[in-house]
């Protein structure tokens, strides 16, 4: 069902003594929308620029898969690329630019003109098509960037932080456009915010410090890494907060009073007056906790049982 399109193998890049990307592997399948998710400095832009052929890797390969054969090097005709902050020729009009992009991709002039008009209509720029790009807003530039990237019907659309720099309205517009585009072509986009990835992608590749922390189908990851958590909200009184810290300390040092608690609860974290217990078994852990809370006279204002979100997982893998 899933046909491999692009294979990245052992890719690494060092700038002087800084290793930006350190040996990553992944496979992008045809028709999927893949998010490259990671905090700032994780190596997303570096990876994307290597895939686009703008930067030479220090080691590893990037290649389009054709049957059993994996090509070497990026095939520029197959990729549509939009950088993080695209820069156009401000003295050109939007229409002129997309026509120019089409001609550079080998379209004859007349085809390029009709394709450009069609795409500008598509990205909602037909009213501004004859205006200088210098007068465009950030959202308009991003949509123009999408139009020029799509002009030659690329097999893979590669976008670097397509919505990060936009205001909420521009962001919404571009996200909606991407929702449509991902139905027609394979998309690889990077982002540092999880909600954008969750909104758009089928597969996610989480990278941190140049290495892949986690990758796979996003729905699968969500259910696989779903862990029960118990959240306590304490009143902000001294003894209760002290108890929480002491509990966390005992947990860390492995000297928890009850040996049972130690096995049931594998992580404790406090933020302000709320304490999170990551547990293996909700019922037994809850019983243990309630017993201790009563014995220590801890003032609990709320106790909630729930599951870790993808956000928790993301925060956890990128804070390693």
């Amino acid at each position: 069902m899933s046909v491999p399109l692009l294979e990245v193998n052992g890719l690494s890049k060092t700038f002087g003594s800084v290793q930006a990307v350190g040996g990553i592997d992944f496979l992008i399948c045809e028709g999927r929308c893949v998010a490259l998710l990671g905090p700032n400095g994780a190596g997303k832009t570096t990876t994307i620029r290597i895939i686009a052929g703008l930067l030479k890797q220090s080691a590893g390969t990037v290649g389009f898969v054709d049957g059993d054969h994996v090509g070497t090097g990026g095939n520029r005709a197959m990729i549509g690329y939009l950088p993080q902050a695209p820069s156009f020729y401000n003295w050109m009009t939007g229409l002129e630019y997309v026509v120019y992009a089409g001609r550079l991709c080998g379209l004859p002039r007349s085809h390029a003109v009709s394709r450009a008009k069609e795409l500008l209509e598509r990205v909602g720029l037909n009213a501004a098509a004859k205006r200088r790009i210098g007068s465009y807003s950030g959202g308009m530039k991003q949509r123009l960037g999408l139009a020029q990237a799509l002009v030659h019907r690329p097999k893979l659309l590669v976008l670097d932080e397509p919505v990060s720099a936009l205001d909420p309205i521009g962001r919404r517009e571009v996200l909606e456009l991407l929702q449509e585009l991902k139905r027609e072509t394979t998309v690889l986009f990077s982002t540092h915010v999880l909600p954008d990835a969750e909104e758009l992608c089928d597969d996610v590749i989480i990278i941190n410090k140049g290495a892949i922390a986690l990758q796979g189908n996003i729905a699968e990851i969500r259910s696989r890494y779903r862990q029960p958590v118990i959240e306590l909200e304490l009143e902000r009184d001294e003894p209760s907060l002290k108890w929480a810290d002491a509990f966390a300390e005992r947990h860390r040092s492995g000297t928890n009073v009850s040996s049972q608690t130690a096995g049931l609860i594998y992580d404790v974290s406090r933020q302000g007056a709320s304490v999170r217990f990551s547990v293996t078994e909700v019922d037994a852990a809850r019983e243990q906790l309630l017993g201790e809370l009563a014995a220590e006279k801890v003032r609990v204002s709320r106790l909630q049982v729930g599951y870790t979100s993808l956000e928790d997982l993301f925060m956890k893998v990128v804070s390693l």
Binding site: R76, S87, L104
Partner: protein
Amino acid sequence: MTSGAARYFAMAQKELLELVRSFKLLWVPLVFVLLGIMQPVSMYYMPLILEKAGNMPVGSVIEIPMPLGAEVLAQTLQQFGTLGLLVLVLAGMGTVSAERNSGAAALILVKPVSSFSYIASKWTSLLLLAWGSLTAGYLSSWYYTSLLIGEVDASRVLGSLLVYGLWLSFALALTLLFSTLLRSPAAAAFSALGASAALSLLAGVFPKQAGWLPGSLSGFAYQIASSGSAGSDRFGWSLACTAAAIAGSLLLAGQSLKRSASVD
């Protein structure tokens, strides 16, 4: 038309449009025309200027022989070699690096275009700018020279124009090369002007040994303008050497763009 040629034409067209929209195609030729007119006009009025400005004792007669028209044209070329060359190099210094620094090159070079077509399109626009400006300036100078000072043979004008145009083309090929190698436009301008000046100096100091180098072309052009012939057996060599140096610079620029670790 092959697809490679079609892409080159698209890029060259864009470059020309940029020359027009950035007004470079207006003000650079204007500088050359002003320089070209100034030379014969100032020569013509020189005695008058000296008389008015100088503190000559009353009654002294100023005897300044009016120069020949051909000499005025050679002087015009010298003007082009300093101020004119400076303006051309300044206009071309960021031709590649500015696009790479702004990020505009990333969107172009990521498309299936060759770095050689890209360099060739830049070169085309620089050539047009240089030859257009030189021709406009030189012809204006010729017109005013024949009007005010004396007739000059069309063949001398044409010959010196072609040789001088080749010299400017060489300087701009260097500018294009340095603009590709160096990220700073100012450094590119400095290097190109420095290299041109060094070559000219070399040819001036060692006319025998260095006469076949591109640097001697400007001197040959003055010779052709003032005496009608280059007057050296090294002239042919220096033409060939310059053509080869231009081709080499362009190939090197294309190659270095293609090979550089970061294309954009």
